[in-house]
Symmetry: C2
Subunit: 148 residues, 2 copies
DNA sequence: TCTGAAAATTTGGGTCG
DNA sequence: CGACCCAAATTTTCAGA
């Protein structure tokens, strides 16, 4: 799909506030509301917009600990481990990567001892290296085309 | 702020589809539209909902390479490095962590050689270990209170 | 793109624990 | 008094040409 400057502007605006009305977006990019609606629909249909969502403050929800776990899966255990973590709500994200460790995961938990339990459960599947997140200087940055 | 079962349901629904109407959410949780609107407003005001956003498919936008860089910052270079990356749109996320490496970053780029350039730029500030993301078995999971 | 019709959000007033 | 419902007014979205 071809992305012109206007579509990039729409995507930037929607990332910052997905509840802008089409009319308001149109005012920003110089289009009428129906024209914006049509573009957004096509962006959804093409899959470029995967979903409209909300970003939550996990700390305020009582989940104060973020951890990043690098994980080296034992031979033959990959499939069962992926199935295992897909059902754990504490595992927020999991990436398969090149390099020494096979997986890099991000977890969100309420208390340190929850993390301990999880690491114990993981030990059946491989070896983990855990880092606690102290802060997130850059978090979920708005993505745009600026090439500086 | 107190979060009852209804507010958790609202948060789950909004994460899955932030464009549900208040009336539709109300049908799911057994409230009227204005009651839902008021709850959502309070969730925003309290900061639990940080923003309404869209999740994008970066591959379809031509940004096919995700990388995770572990970074050990040289003494005294932390502040200048954080300022440096805050202005780089390729750095999607940056976490300060415990452990051997000080920072773990997620980057999104179009081509491998862009990554090479970035790693070269980073070398003034510290030592990096780069992993290319092959796939993301779990990505931006919907967060809810289920304790199973 | 424009216009009318349908649906959504917002606001005010009133009610129940 | 806070949280909710109902109903009217405004805004937004949708579907026709």
């Amino acid at each position: 799909m071809e992305l012109d400057k206007i579509n990039w502007s729409i995507l930037t605006l929607l990332q910052e506030n997905a509840r802008l009305s089409f009319a308001e977006i149109g005012r920003n990019v110089g289009l009428s509301a129906p024209a914006v609606a049509e573009r957004v629909l096509k962006l959804e249909e093409s899959g470029i917009i995967k979903r409209f969502s909300v970003d939550l403050d996990f700390e305020k929800l009582g989940y104060s600990f973020k951890a990043i776990i690098s994980f080296k899966v034992y031979t033959g255990k990959m499939q069962s481990f992926l199935k295992f973590i897909s059902e754990m709500h504490e595992v927020y994200e999991c990436n398969r990567v090149t390099g020494e460790h096979c997986l890099i995961m991000k977890l969100i938990v309420q208390k340190p001892n929850e993390l301990e339990n999880i690491i114990n459960l993981f030990s059946d599947f491989g070896e983990s290296t855990t880092s606690i997140v102290l802060s997130s200087p850059v978090e979920h940055k708005v993505f745009n085309q600026n090439k500086n």
